[in-house]
C-alpha cells in the first residue's frame, strides 16, 4: 500500500508516458461515476469544473456560503509558470530545479517536474477564462519576481491574484452546475469518510443551516480542503480554515505526511494585542521593491525617518547579496527573528522589522520623469509620481496595511513580522494524488507533495490549479476505469450508518461536556503551545513538553468545553468545536514529527542542527525521506518512511549568498 507509483523512465518523459498509458473511461460510463469533492478553493473548484466537463457526476462541498469564498481567494502575490516570456533564462527545468531546491530537497522530484511541465497550461487556461492578469502597454502579460528565483516568472493581478484565479475556477464550476454536471453543496461540512471493502465510497456531511447529517455516495472522494495553519490559532488563514476533512481521512487510514513542515511567512502585519483573531499577510511581491532593515543600534527608539541611512542595517542584503531581499521565506523569517531576538526589533512590541519603499518610490518616480520627458523637476514631484507607480502595483496591500495599523505606508516604512501562513505537510499521496486509501485522493495544500520543507512564493496557486485542472482528470480516470461495474451503493449500507453514528457520537460528546470555557479559549491555548514550541525554532526539550501539554489540554477540552445552542440548527460554535477537537490531535502529531526529524530543513528549524552562521543544517544521510504517519488510535501513530531519490537535483547545502 505504500508505493509512490512514480512512472519509470527519464524525469522529463514520465508524465507524457503516464498520460499515454493510463486507463480511460468512455463518456457513457463517466455519466454513471460519481466523484465527491471536499473544498472549493483552487484545487477543489478546478477539479470539480474539469471533472464535470469530462462528464463525471460531481458533488462539491464547501462550508462557506458560496464556493467563491474559499481561502485561495486571499492569495495575493502571484502564480509561477515557466513561460519564459521575459527571455531571462527560464525553462521547465529551471522552475523544477528552483522548486526542489527551495523545498530544501525534501520534495519528490517526479511530482515537482510534472508541476513545472503543466505550469504554462495553467496561465493559458486562466487567460481563456477571462482572468484579468496584469499586462504591459503592448497588451501582453506582465511578470514579476518572487523569492528564491532569479528570473521573472510570476504572473499576477495586482495584489489579488488568488482572487482572480479562484473566481475563474468558480465561474467554470458554476457553469458546470448550470449544465447539471456538478451539484454544489454550500454550507456543508464533511465530518467523516465512508469506507466499504477498504475503498473510499462516500462521506457524512452536516448541513450547517439545519444541522442535519447527510450521507453521500461517491466512487471516489477528493480532499481539497487546504492547509492546517490554524492549529496555531493565529495565522494568515481564514477563520474557518481547518484540518477536519484531512484529519478524518487520516483516522480512516490515509497517512499524514511531514506534518511538522509549516511555512512561517516573513512579511505579515505584527500582532497588536490579545484580542487578535488572525494575522494579515503583506505579499511577498512587496520584497521586489521593499527593502527590509532594522536599526544598527539595539533598542533604538527613534522614528524610522530619524534614522540616517548609514545607521540602518539592511540585513538580508548584507547576509545574502546574491538574492538580497528576495531570499526564500524560511530564510527571511529566521533572519527577522534573529534580529528581533538580538534586540534590534522596532515598534512598541520590538517584534517587528521595517519594510521600506522609499528607495523604490524615488526610483520609479525618476523613471516616470524620464518616460514623460519632464526634464528637471523637484524631488516632491518625483516622489509623487513614484507613489502613483507603487500604488498601481501594490495599492490594495498598502490600503489594507493602512486600515489595520492606522499608519500610512507611503510615508513611513511598514512594520512586519513573520506569521504562520502555509503548511507544506498534508495527506500523503502517490504520483496519482491518491492517498493510501484506494479511491481517496488529495489535491492542493491538503496534500504534501510538491513543496518539500519550504514552499516558494507564487507556487501554491500553481500547485492547486495544476492538481485540479491538469493532473486529477487523468489520474482519477485511471482508477475509475476499473469501477465502471460498481453501481451506486445505497446509503443505507451499514458502513454509512456506522460512519454517521460516529459523527453523532462526537457531536453529542461536544455538547455533553457542558463545561465552563469557550472553544476559543482552548484554541488560543493550543496555538500558544504550538507557536512557542513548534514554531519558527524547535528543540527536543520544548517538543517533548509540548506533547505533554497538548495531551493535557485535549483532556481538559473534552471535560470543560462549553458549546452553546443545539445540534439541529445553524451553530457556528459547534462547527468551531469540532475543528478545534481535530487540531488538538493534529498538534500532537506535528510535535511528534518535529521531534523525530532531528535535522533542520526549510521551514523546520531544529536548534540542535544549524551551521556555524545559523543556517538550517540538513542531515541527508538520516532524514532524506518523507515521514508518513499512520493513525493507530488516539495519540498513537506508526511512522512509515518514503525514501527520497534525487536524480536531477543533487542535494547541496542551500545557498542564497
Amino acid at each position: 500500500m505504500f508505493d509512490a507509483k512514480i512512472p519509470a523512465g527519464p524525469l522529463n518523459s514520465k508524465w507524457e508516458d503516464y498520460k499515454g498509458h493510463c486507463k480511460l473511461v468512455n463518456p457513457a460510463n463517466k455519466r454513471n461515476l460519481e466523484v465527491i469533492i471536499i473544498g472549493t478553493g483552487l484545487a477543489g473548484a478546478s477539479a470539480a469544473a474539469s471533472l464535470g466537463e469530462l462528464g463525471y457526476k460531481v458533488k462539491a462541498f464547501c462550508f462557506q456560503d458560496s464556493p467563491r469564498r474559499a481561502h485561495s481567494i486571499a492569495a495575493q502575490g502571484g502564480i509561477n509558470a515557466a513561460k519564459n516570456y521575459q527571455n531571462d533564462g527560464d525553462s521547465v527545468f529551471r522552475l523544477f530545479y528552483d522548486t526542489v531546491k527551495g523545498g530544501d530537497y525534501r520534495a519528490r522530484e517526479a511530482n515537482v517536474h510534472r508541476l513545472a511541465e503543466v505550469s504554462g497550461n495553467i496561465i493559458d487556461q486562466c487567460v481563456a477564462q477571462g482572468v484579468p492578469f496584469a499586462r504591459e502597454y503592448g497588451g501582453l502579460l506582465s511578470n514579476r519576481s518572487f523569492g528564491g528565483t532569479q528570473v521573472q516568472r510570476t504572473f499576477y493581478a495586482a495584489g489579488q491574484t488568488g482572487q482572480q484565479l479562484l473566481l475563474g475556477a468558480y465561474s467554470a464550476l458554476e457553469r458546470q452546475v448550470a449544465l447539471g454536471n456538478v451539484t454544489m453543496y454550500n454550507r456543508h461540512e464533511m465530518l467523516d469518510i465512508v469506507k466499504i471493502d477498504g475503498k473510499a465510497r462516500g462521506i457524512i456531511a452536516r448541513d450547517l443551516i439545519t444541522g442535519e447529517l447527510e450521507r453521500h455516495f461517491g466512487h471516489a472522494v477528493l480532499i481539497c480542503s487546504g492547509g492546517y495553519g490554524n492549529v496555531f490559532f493565529l495565522s494568515t488563514n481564514a477563520m474557518g480554515s481547518n484540518v477536519t476533512a484531512a484529519w478524518k481521512a487520516t483516522k480512516n487510514g490515509a497517512y499524514f505526511a511531514n506534518p511538522c513542515y509549516t511555512q512561517i511567512h516573513p512579511t505579515c502585519i505584527p500582532v497588536s494585542g490579545d484580542h487578535q483573531s488572525k494575522l494579515t499577510l503583506m505579499s511577498e511581491s512587496l520584497r521586489n521593491d521593499g527593502r527590509i532593515w532594522v536599526p544598527k543600534k539595539q533598542n533604538d527608539t527613534r522614528k524610522a525617518s530619524d534614522i540616517p541611512e548609514e545607521e540602518r542595517d539592511y540585513y538580508l542584503e548584507r547576509r545574502y547579496p546574491a538574492f538580497g531581499n528576495l531570499v526564500p521565506r524560511d530564510v527571511a523569517s529566521r533572519a527577522a527573528k534573529e534580529r528581533c531576538d538580538a534586540g534590534y526589533g522596532v515598534g512598541t512590541s520590538k517584534q517587528a522589522v521595517y519594510l521600506d519603499f522609499a528607495a523604490a518610490i524615488e526610483r520609479y518616480g525618476k523613471v516616470e520623469v524620464g518616460k514623460r520627458q519632464m526634464g528637471n523637476v523637484s524631488k516632491e514631484e518625483i516622489i509623487k509620481l513614484g507613489k502613483e507607480v507603487v500604488a498601481e502595483k501594490y495599492g490594495n496591500l498598502f490600503d489594507m496595511y493602512a486600515k489595520i495599523t492606522g499608519e500610512n505606508p507611503y510615508e513611513q516604512p511598514m512594520r512586519i513580522y513573520p506569521a504562520v501562513h502555509y503548511t507544506m505537510g498534508g495527506l500523503w499521496v502517490d504520483y496519482e494524488l491518491s492517498t493510501t486509501v484506494p479511491g481517496l485522493y488529495s489535491l492542493g495544500e491538503a496534500n504534501f507533495s510538491d513543496h518539500g520543507a519550504n514552499r516558494l512564493g507564487a507556487s501554491a496557486l500553481m500547485q492547486g490549479l495544476a492538481d485540479g485542472y491538469f493532473v486529477i482528470p487523468y489520474t482519477v480516470g485511471n482508477y475509475l476505469a476499473d469501477e465502471i461495474r460498481t453501481k451506486a451503493i445505497p446509503t443505507d449500507h451499514p458502513a454509512f450508518v456506522e460512519a454517521e453514528n460516529r459523527v453523532k457520537e462526537t457531536i453529542n460528546k461536544l455538547f455533553a461536556a457542558k463545561g465552563t470555557k469557550s472553544v476559543d479559549f482552548f484554541h488560543k491555548k493550543l496555538g500558544k503551545i504550538m507557536w512557542d514550541k513548534c514554531g519558527m525554532a524547535r528543540n527536543e526539550k520544548g517538543l517533548l513538553e509540548a506533547i505533554e501539554e497538548i495531551k493535557a489540554l485535549r483532556a481538559e477540552f473534552w471535560k470543560d468545553v462549553r458549546v452553546p445552542g443545539e445540534a439541529n440548527e445553524f451553530n457556528p460554535e459547534l462547527e468551531k468545536a469540532g475543528r478545534v477537537a481535530d487540531f488538538l490531535e493534529l498538534g500532537e502529531l506535528m510535535c511528534m514529527d518535529a521531534l523525530n526529524r532531528r535535522e533542520s530543513c526549510g521551514g523546520h528549524f531544529r536548534e540542535e542542527s544549524q551551521t556555524e552562521d545559523g543556517e538550517a543544517q540538513r542531515d541527508d544521510a538520516n532524514f532524506s525521506y518523507v515521514a508518513a504517519w499512520e493513525y493507530k488510535g488516539e495519540g498513537k501513530y506508526e511512522l512509515h518512511k518514503e525514501p527520497l531519490v534525487f536524480e536531477e537535483c543533487k542535494p547541496t547545502q542551500r545557498s542564497y549568498k
Binding site: S66, R68, A238
Partner: protein, 254 residues
C-alpha cells in the same frame, strides 16, 4: 496612532432562523481596544455571552482581510459601516469612541433571507453567475496566453470590475434591493476582454433575467451601491451593462 479603550452599547438584530420574526437586542461591549477590528469586538462580546451561558451572535465571516466577501453587517445604517471602501472585517474600532451606541443589522433584501441573527443567504448570487457569468472554455481548450494581446486600458478596467467580492453590500445599500452593480461588474469584466466576446450578448440577457427571477429590484440610478461598495466598483459598469443588454436585445439572433 493613539490607542484607547471604550465601552459601547450594541443594538444587534437577533433572529433564531428564517421563520422567526426577529428583534433588536441591546448588548454591552466593554473594554474594547481601538486597535480591534469590528469583528474582533464581536468576538469579545460573544465570548462574554458564552461565559454567561447565553447564545452568541451568529455572523458570517471568514478571511478577515477584506477579500472573501463573507462578512456582511449593516452598521449604523450603512453596509459595512462608516468607512468608505471597507468591508466589515477591515473596519477598525478607532472609527468609534467611548460611549457610542452602534446598531448592527443583517443585509436587508427580499432576495437575501436571514439565516440567523446577522447571517443571510446569498445563494441568489451564485445562481446569477450560473446563468452566464463565465466564458465557456473547457480545461485544455486554451491557446497560448500571449496569442491575443489585450489593450492595457481595457484589461485594467476589466480587473477593476473583477475586483467585486460578491458580498452583497450593493444590494443591502439599495432602496430597491437591486443587484445591478454585482451583475454589471461580471458582465463588464467579460465584455471588456476579447475572450468574453463570443458570449457577450447571451451573457447580458441571461444574467439580467436570472437577477429579475431572484427577486432583486430595479435600478433607479441613485448610486448608493457604488458609495457603499467595499471594493469601490464603479457605477459606469451599470452603464456598460445597460448598453450590452440593450444592444443584445436589438441584435441577438435568438
Amino acid at each position: 496612532m493613539e490607542h484607547y479603550n471604550m465601552n459601547l452599547t450594541l443594538k444587534v438584530w437577533r433572529q433564531k432562523n428564517k421563520n422567526d420574526q426577529g428583534r433588536f437586542e441591546t448588548l454591552q461591549a466593554k473594554n474594547i481596544s481601538s486597535e480591534m477590528s469590528f469583528l474582533e469586538m464581536f468576538d469579545v462580546v460573544n465570548e462574554e455571552l458564552i461565559n454567561e451561558g447565553k447564545e452568541p451572535v451568529a455572523f458570517d465571516h471568514d478571511c478577515r482581510e477584506g477579500i472573501c466577501g463573507m462578512c456582511s453587517m449593516h452598521i449604523n445604517g450603512r453596509a459595512h459601516g462608516p468607512w468608505d471602501g471597507t468591508t466589515t472585517c477591515q473596519l477598525h474600532m478607532r472609527a468609534f469612541k467611548d460611549g457610542d451606541t452602534i446598531t448592527v443589522e443583517p443585509w436587508r433584501a427580499g432576495a437575501f433571507p436571514v439565516v440567523k441573527d446577522l447571517t443571510v443567504d446569498r445563494s441568489a448570487f451564485d445562481r446569477i453567475i450560473e446563468a452566464g457569468g463565465y466564458i465557456s472554455v473547457n480545461t485544455g481548450n486554451a491557446q497560448d496566453a500571449n496569442c491575443i494581446p489585450v489593450d492595457k486600458t481595457k484589461a485594467d478596467l476589466a480587473f477593476a470590475a473583477a475586483a467585486c467580492i460578491g458580498c452583497g453590500a450593493c444590494v443591502a445599500a439599495c432602496k430597491n434591493s437591486s443587484a445591478m452593480l454585482f451583475v454589471s461588474a461580471k458582465v463588464s469584466q467579460l465584455a471588456l476582454l476579447p475572450q468574453g466576446h463570443p458570449e457577450k450578448q447571451s451573457r447580458a440577457l441571461n444574467m439580467v433575467a436570472q437577477m429579475d427571477k431572484e427577486g432583486f429590484g430595479s435600478c433607479t440610478n441613485t448610486g448608493a451601491c457604488e458609495a457603499e461598495c467595499p471594493k469601490e466598483i464603479s457605477l459606469t459598469n451599470i452603464a456598460r451593462l445597460n448598453r450590452e443588454f440593450i444592444s443584445a436585445g436589438f441584435s441577438s439572433e435568438k
